[in-house]
Symmetry: C2
Subunit: 151 residues, 2 copies
Amino acid sequence: MRIEDEIKQPIFRDEHQKAFINLIYTAGWLQLRQAAAFKPFGLTSPQFNILRILRGQHPLPATVALLIDRMLDKTSNASRIVDRLEEKKLVTRTVCPANRRAVDIRITKAGLDLLDQVEQTGVLYTKENMALNEDEMRQLNALLDKMRTVE
Amino acid sequence: MRIEDEIKQPIFRDEHQKAFINLIYTAGWLQLRQAAAFKPFGLTSPQFNILRILRGQHPLPATVALLIDRMLDKTSNASRIVDRLEEKKLVTRTVCPANRRAVDIRITKAGLDLLDQVEQTGVLYTKENMALNEDEMRQLNALLDKMRTVE
DNA sequence: TGACATTAAATGTATGTACATTATATTTGC
DNA sequence: GCAAATATAATGTACATACATTTAATGTCA
């Protein structure tokens, strides 16, 4: 369905305004689908993303600062998302011996297993979620990268 | 900056995964810029969007159901966003005389004036926020609309 | 060394998101 | 006319976002 019909706004000021709204709407649409896929596993999207970063570091630890650096949403509060993961015993938190201001965060066996489980359902980033072919995906990536080249 | 560098992930599984992450990242990037523009006026993005829908209806009222229907994020809680706008006296809420289950929501003069003020700064949906030309915007809109044609 | 700045994470507060439940009002079917 | 179903908005709860402040450890340099 075209964005005009999705939000019942027949006319946009220009293609810029329409692209802006279309982009935000489509990202929200994708995130809803992803959140629904995570739900049976008791995970939210940011929790899943942090687990993935920790697996990338494994068996080395990550600090909160490293998580923020790698996160999609850098303004979100990594500390509190790690709280939830720790409660679920998917990560551990220990004071870094080399620098006692920092905290070493590590993914547990249970965390690694849960990631595997989620990924085996194949719900992630797949063609089933996005009706574009390889070439269209490349065009989209190029447009998005270019869009952000302001200032 | 390419998405690879923005989130310091040099390799993606495929263009689909990259497009997924790029889309979510870029939407967040746009929303941050927009939120920063609204901040001097004491408005958040969802509050601004609801004011715009109400202006579109003005001088007719809108119900909560109509707001949800028109909102970009249909799962957000319109009732509570209207609470904030009412506290700031930018909208009024009265029980609909024709159907006392419904609530008539109207934008006030102060609300209309505030919208004008925000828009006169020219920060909205403009070329300054998105480094694509008219033709690229059209391509982007087409790709996004097509992307959502699954199921 | 000791005052001061800087770094790293946690905490506080307001708002929003996601989804379930509740409270009323209205509609429908008998 | 009245009980049950439905419609409409508000409320409750958990989590996340945005951003300011606090706490504690470390670095710097007179």
